[in-house]
């Protein structure tokens, strides 16, 4: 497992939590339980009635239990994505 996240360290990542929240930040560290340290964290709040909002929240330590998915954020694709017009429901929470 350490190998799986090692390649993402110091990269911009997209973190999807089990409560449905989506965070974006820089992966600074992790451990065996997939606990994660995320720097320059922004929460992306989606809504079906408004454009996507971004809230900066600083450095976070996230418990592995609450992480559903960590994706490598492709910055080019991220810039191309039209978040200002993206009105969708937020991602569903995951019931374990």
């Amino acid at each position: 497992m350490s190998d799986q996240l090692r390649s993402l360290v110091d990269h911009p990542v997209f973190v999807y939590l089990t409560d449905g929240r989506t965070l974006v930040g820089q992966l600074m560290g992790y451990d065996q339980a997939a606990n994660v340290i995320l720097g320059k964290t922004h929460e992306r709040i989606f809504s079906s009635t408004e454009a996507m909002k971004t809230v900066p929240i600083g450095v976070y330590v996230i418990r592995g239990e609450t992480i559903a998915l960590i994706g490598e954020l492709d910055e080019e694709l991220d810039e191309q994505a039209d978040y200002d017009n993206m009105m969708v429901e937020p991602l569903d929470p995951v019931m374990l």
């Binding site: 497992m1 190998d3 997209f14 089990t18």
Partner: protein, 99 residues
Amino acid sequence: MLFYSFFKTLVGQPVTVELKNDLAITGVLVSVDQFLNIKLDNIKVVDEERYPHMLAVKNCFIRGSVVRYVQLPAPSVDTALLQDAARRERQQPAAGARK
């Protein structure tokens, strides 16, 4: 350990991982670990229109605890071998297995 070994044989294959919240992601299996955490490359979210949130994500790490199903290409699975391994595992559970 059985399924960890089984998934290791599928590295490089296209698979679809369905999460417990119904989100499904297709990608190439890059790696798996003892917790059955899964790493996928070249991902495509099934039903992209409903989930554009991840348009900018091309590869991801999925925590094993949130996986409901892993859909596999049938030709890649040797069911006879798997049945055999399961039988052997039953008779001699590996260290750390619960009965």
